[in-house]
Subunit: 382 residues, 2 copies
């Protein structure tokens, strides 16, 4: 039956043949441990230098065109009453990830929390009080070791589907995304090259749509077949797996990525994260951002251009107005006149427009007229 | 380019070859319209009799073992000031669904709302003020015509994935669920036999797990291959498509359905809805409930039985306690002693247990020991 691996006593796990990513991550993890041992042997107080994830250490790199972290670091010391616990937690999470890689298994952030949660021997203290205690430590380890969470064998929830003219090898299975029916291929959380390999691709571009319901319209109309493309969605703000996959499709296969999003601050923000990365996860931009992404979503001028009815507009709320102004002042939007004009026009309109509103023209207007016209005229925002 | 179908003038749409479900639904829709015409011709005030969806018209049918609607109906009249608008909305939604079926297209409830929303000619009145105005009317039409939303070509959002020893035909594509890699087949919202056909099935049962993260553990460990089964999840409370698919797998292929859910009121509730249907959507139980489903989720006795650490327990909140008592008093749980004992024990424990907590034993404990032991001992709740 099951291997009897206790989470705290896994020294006996036999070494498996590791792929190169796992070898690299493992080296980083053991490097971290070696530092501690060597500090102890030299009679020095062990410490970890954790890159700072605070706002002040995040900046927009205009040549790379994404948000990245600065070089600021915070020292975390074992022999410091206020830091000892988080020091210990950092080492504990690292050892949990080491165990996952050794066993060639992966788990969710919740799973890792449960794997490591226990009462500290001889004390009444818990390693973690709850998951919110553990999650930031996972991010600390990611950033300290310069790895992605997925490389540490920890996954986020998966959401998002894909169809189109591409064949993948996922965990050894050949997945032909042009033969996936109405449901599509469910984009997993971990899409690193060791798990998901691009096998054959005839697509000329990727159309990423915001919502699964809009994605379904495009799939039903076999848009991807007519236009030779790949069709993805991320169920709103796309999860890590979808972002990483779009990054890989763009960087490895040189496929342009077009984003069909709503004409509202939330749509703008999704675009911003897809393209430049997010402030919270700035250390991941390098592997997730798609600086060449293009916005083919609804535009503030579409009310007039498409002759939409006032019935399908939605009035901007106070929050919408505030968010829109914030987004307009992002350094990466600030100097782009078309974006400034776009946001200004939305504020002037006083309303937002969802992609679904185009259905008031006719059911397939979005797949048969709107998007083809935008692509044909190269009419998108950068 | 696009067919020029305006949503309000679609009389010219050529008739397509319809499958039998579409023919049936179409007959129900035109039957509704014919009633109105005939009332008008006889100089009578047109009305609709809408089955009542109120709590008082819902009951548990202990021989069918699911929640169903009673025979109560509400009359909706055109020549009644307080009912005229909702009468008109009901007819409008019916005509929108007719258009969808005629064009062989489907849309989301949001799409249908946009399709039908407009200012009424010669008035300042909108057909619908917002979507919450339209959604209950869709349910009215479903229940009046005795159809499922999916048969009206309206879909919910899709969530949930599947892998295992089954091959489907989805919209003409053959989907071999045993070769779907780490991502799996994304379960669509519409899984009616006209869209999703069961082609070949070697599986002996279905294991439905609550969360995608747990599903992934089972998929990584290829549980479905070892145990010859189908593995599904519904991302929490399963959406309509997942429920309907489980119903079909159970009723058409006679596969037992086992549900791996958390030992908490939410897990119990998910089980209750999967098995007996929900109060809100009682009219759908007949097509969605799985009265033979079995609970193999975490049990209140597992804290002791599995030797779990107090670290992984989560204290019950006030809301949890209230919900647990409510669930214990459901007519379909009320007379089941094992369920009463189960809920009583949880309340006595004072804590709940998530499936992920088993990872504290070891990463694959749930796939290699827990579930195999439950299945082997036929140790589940009914």
């Amino acid at each position: 039956m099951a291997k009897k691996n206790n989470s705290r006593t896994n020294n006996s796990t036999p070494q498996r043949e590791m792929n190169s990513t796992d070898q690299k991550t493992m080296a980083a993890l053991t490097g971290l441990a070696d530092q501690i041992v060597s500090a102890a042997e030299r009679g020095r107080a062990p410490h970890l230098d954790i890159p700072s994830r605070s706002l002040s250490n995040v900046r927009y790199n205009s040549s790379k065109r994404f948000i990245e972290m600065g070089s600021g670091k915070n020292r975390r010391e074992l022999f410091n009453l206020s830091q000892a616990k988080s020091y210990m937690q950092t080492v504990l999470v690292s050892s949990g990830c080491k165990q996952l890689i050794e066993e060639d298994k992966s788990t969710s952030i919740r799973g890792l929390y449960y794997l490591l949660k226990h009462t500290i021997e001889g004390a009444r203290e818990e390693t973690f009080d709850d998951q919110s205690d553990c999650d930031p430590v996972i991010e600390d380890v990611e950033v300290t070791l310069n790895t992605l969470r997925e490389e540490l064998h920890v996954y986020a929830s998966n959401r998002g589907s894909m169809v189109g003219n591409i064949t993948l090898i996922d965990s050894g299975d050949e997945i032909d995304c042009s033969r996936m029916g109405s449901g599509g291929y469910s984009i997993p959380s971990i899409v690193e090259p060791e798990v998901v390999e691009f096998h054959k691709c005839d697509a000329k571009f990727v159309l990423h749509v915001e919502k699964d319901t809009v994605w379904r319209r495009f799939n039903e109309d076999k848009f991807w077949r007519k236009h030779d493309c790949i069709l993805t969605h991320g169920g709103g703000q796309p999860p890590r797996g979808v972002r990483r996959l779009l990054h890989r499709l763009n960087h490895e296969l040189q496929l342009p990525v077009y984003c069909l999003l709503d004409n509202d601050p939330w749509g703008y923000y999704i675009y911003s994260v897809l393209k430049q990365g997010s402030i919270n996860l700035a250390y991941e931009s390098r592997r997730m951002a798609v600086p060449n992404a293009r916005y083919v979503g609804l535009r503030s001028k579409d009310y007039e251009r498409c002759g939409l009815s006032p019935s399908v507009t939605i009035n901007l709320s106070e929050t919408d107005i505030k968010r829109a102004k914030q987004i307009a002042s992002y350094p990466w939007f600030e100097k782009k006149k078309p974006w400034q004009k776009e946001i200004e026009q939305m504020l002037k309109n006083g309303f937002k427009l969802e992609v679904e509103a185009l259905i008031s023209k006719n059911i397939s207007y979005v797949t048969e007229e709107y998007v083809p016209a935008r692509l044909n005229d190269q009419d998108f925002l950068d």
